[in-house]
């Protein structure tokens, strides 16, 4: 094979095709397991979907399971509240960073970002102790509450939202809010009538990405909840350790877990790489 042949557009296309196949294959296999009947699971693996023997039974079993419903609702509530919270707080902080002279701005910015980089396993123990010992009123403590998880997910989502939104607020012309201030508008009015509408697309991206990050989180959820506030990712892990061998249902839960990511992928694809590298690389 000559160099020019490898570099030809046709070969590039073929490479992309092979690569996409390799990327999708494990997910495709999981989908197959989730829609197959138990008897078809074992024996020689077949990579094709036999529509006539397909079943949605695993999904029905999972979705009608009350424990799992609770996990799913918890996940939805926690992710959504967290995404809204960090988007709002991130926007306020980004606006402050962009428009005000604050002492030690660069250091604050750097410190905020380091929070996202911290290894979560390191903070499990202190957070567990804080949640059970410090933040408690009588019988109630922050441990095993959805509120606790919402606050906790800020540790990685808030720096992200802050960073993403700062770029967006910086892009809004300063003259617009200056003019409004001259007309006697308050900071609140400027934020709601000028910054918010102009930052809307950016806010949408922020909310979607932070939502997915919160939805995907496992380690904190598994340690800082026990019964009431468990999320779908912990449910998935329990499926392996508790029920053992029900692979069809495991695959169905895993499919449901990765579904949101797959759904929003096309919407935010451009921002994912930039987001994961903190803008050092434009996607």
């Amino acid at each position: 094979m000559t160099r020019s042949f490898i570099r030809s557009p046709l070969m590039t296309f073929v490479f992309w095709l092979v690569l996409s196949f390799m990327t999708l294959f494990p997910v495709w296999w999981m989908f197959l397991v989730s829609v197959r009947q138990r008897v078809d699971l074992f024996g020689t693996p077949s990579f094709l979907l036999d529509v006539s023997r397909m079943t949605w039974g695993n999904y029905q079993a999972v979705l009608s399971n009350p424990t799992f419903q609770k996990y799913m609702i918890n996940s939805l509530i926690v992710s959504t509240s967290n995404a809204v919270l960090v988007s709002v707080l991130g926007l306020l902080a980004a606006y402050a960073m962009s428009r005000y002279k604050l002492v030690g701005k660069d250091n604050i910015f750097f410190w905020v970002l380091t929070n996202r980089m911290a290894p979560p396993a390191v903070f499990l123990l202190p957070l567990f102790l804080m949640f059970t010992l410090w933040f408690r009123v009588g019988d109630w403590s922050l441990f095993d509450t959805r509120l606790g998880l919402v606050l906790l997910y800020c540790v990685f989502n808030l720096p992200f939202a802050f960073w993403l939104l700062q770029g967006i607020v910086d892009g809004i012309p300063r003259e617009l809010d200056e003019a409004a201030y001259v007309d006697g508008a308050s900071t609140f009015t400027v934020l709601t009538t000028i910054i918010f509408p102009l930052a809307k697309p950016g806010l949408a991206v922020t909310a979607i990405l932070t939502w997915v990050f919160a939805w995907n989180e496992y380690l904190f959820a598994s340690t800082l909840t026990s019964v009431d506030a468990r999320t779908i990712t912990t449910g998935l892990a329990e499926f392996v350790t508790v029920t053992g061998t029900n692979w069809g249902q495991l695959a169905a839960v895993a499919m449901l877990t990765l579904l949101p990511a797959a759904l929003v992928l096309a919407l935010v694809q451009r921002h994912i790489v930039a987001g994961l590298t903190f803008g050092a690389v434009k996607g």
Binding site: P45, L102, A121, L151, T233, L258
Partner: protein, 291 residues
């Protein structure tokens, strides 16, 4: 410039929450690591014990082994992802039809929950159900059982991480390559430079910032890998894939030995910071290399 008090008020909630969830746990873990505090011990109250926890820690073979495994894993995944990612980026940097669709597909693993990645790979590797053991047996007569052979478990975990994170490397390097200046390369070609010389003297220096960031991000993520490994192998067989995060979470946490666990967490953090810092210095900071 507006009144900066308003600015501080706007940023205050963010700083407050991050103080509670980020800085406070760090300070707390720092303090507790110098205490003997085990709720199930004879004396369940915390009492100061100096560096006793750390003294125990440096002789804790299980802990040291998990650190060694983490370093091994990190080294393998980061280097292989860098090589594969760079190769793919070079091959894919051309414009082709449906590039947007391909890129979107390629981004998928980055967004999938790590725990779901683990589940996916588990379904590929279960004996009797998964295609990997089946075809390895059929074509190469290799018996592939993750729960029995440590090397297979380790390699599979590395492969899973490559599947999961190589797209990030590929996509960042693709972005870097597309910003490469055309003229110096063409000039060098005219001057008769070899391909590897062009690569070494022109492409690499231009790609340095992108490469550095990518390595950095990958390094930090690899050092804290927990979820997908837990799902795939459960840290086993034995403790052969029990990386440091997994070790803290599964072994130390249930024992309620809070002082000791804190010391271990702190040391894991220390290791992460030092490795990242050393890499940063090695790649950017030398005085001789500057200017």
């Amino acid at each position: 410039m507006r009144n900066s008090t308003t600015g501080w008020l706007l940023i205050a909630p963010t700083l407050f929450i991050l103080f509670i969830t980020g800085l406070l746990p760090f300070l707390y873990v720092l303090v507790v690591s110098f205490f003997d505090w085990n709720t199930f011990a004879v004396n369940p109250d915390p009492h100061f014990s100096g560096v006793e926890n750390f003294r125990r820690l440096v002789f804790d073979e299980a802990f040291l082994y998990s650190i060694w495994l983490t370093l091994k894993f990190t080294f393998f995944v980061v280097t292989s992802q860098l090589v594969i990612g760079f190769g793919l980026a070079k091959l894919l940097s051309r414009n082709v039809p449906f590039k947007g669709v391909f890129r979107t597909i390629h981004t998928l693993p980055l967004m999938v929950a790590p725990i779901a990645v683990g589940a996916t790979w588990r379904l590929l590797t279960i004996p009797g159900l998964g295609p990997i053991p089946h075809f390895l047996q059929k074509w190469f007569d290799v018996s592939y059982i993750l729960s029995r052979f440590p090397d297979q478990a380790f390699i599979t975990v590395v492969l899973m991480d490559i599947w999961h994170w190589t797209p990030l490397v590929t996509l960042t390097l693709l972005a870097g390559l597309s910003n490469l200046p055309r003229e110096p390369i063409e000039q060098a070609r005219i001057d008769g430079a070899r391909e590897w010389q062009i690569f070494w003297d022109i492409i690499l220096p231009f790609m340095k910032p992108v490469l550095l960031t990518t390595v950095f991000i990958r390094l930090m993520d690899a050092l804290r890998t927990v979820d997908e490994v837990w799902m795939l192998t459960g840290g086993g067989p034995g403790a052969e894939t029990r990386f440091i995060g997994l070790h803290i979470w599964r072994v130390v946490f249930p024992k309620t030995d809070y002082g000791y666990g804190s010391a271990m967490s702190l040391l894991a953090l220390y290791m992460t910071i030092v490795i990242c810092w050393l890499l940063y210095v090695a790649m950017t900071g030398m005085k001789d290399n500057k200017q």
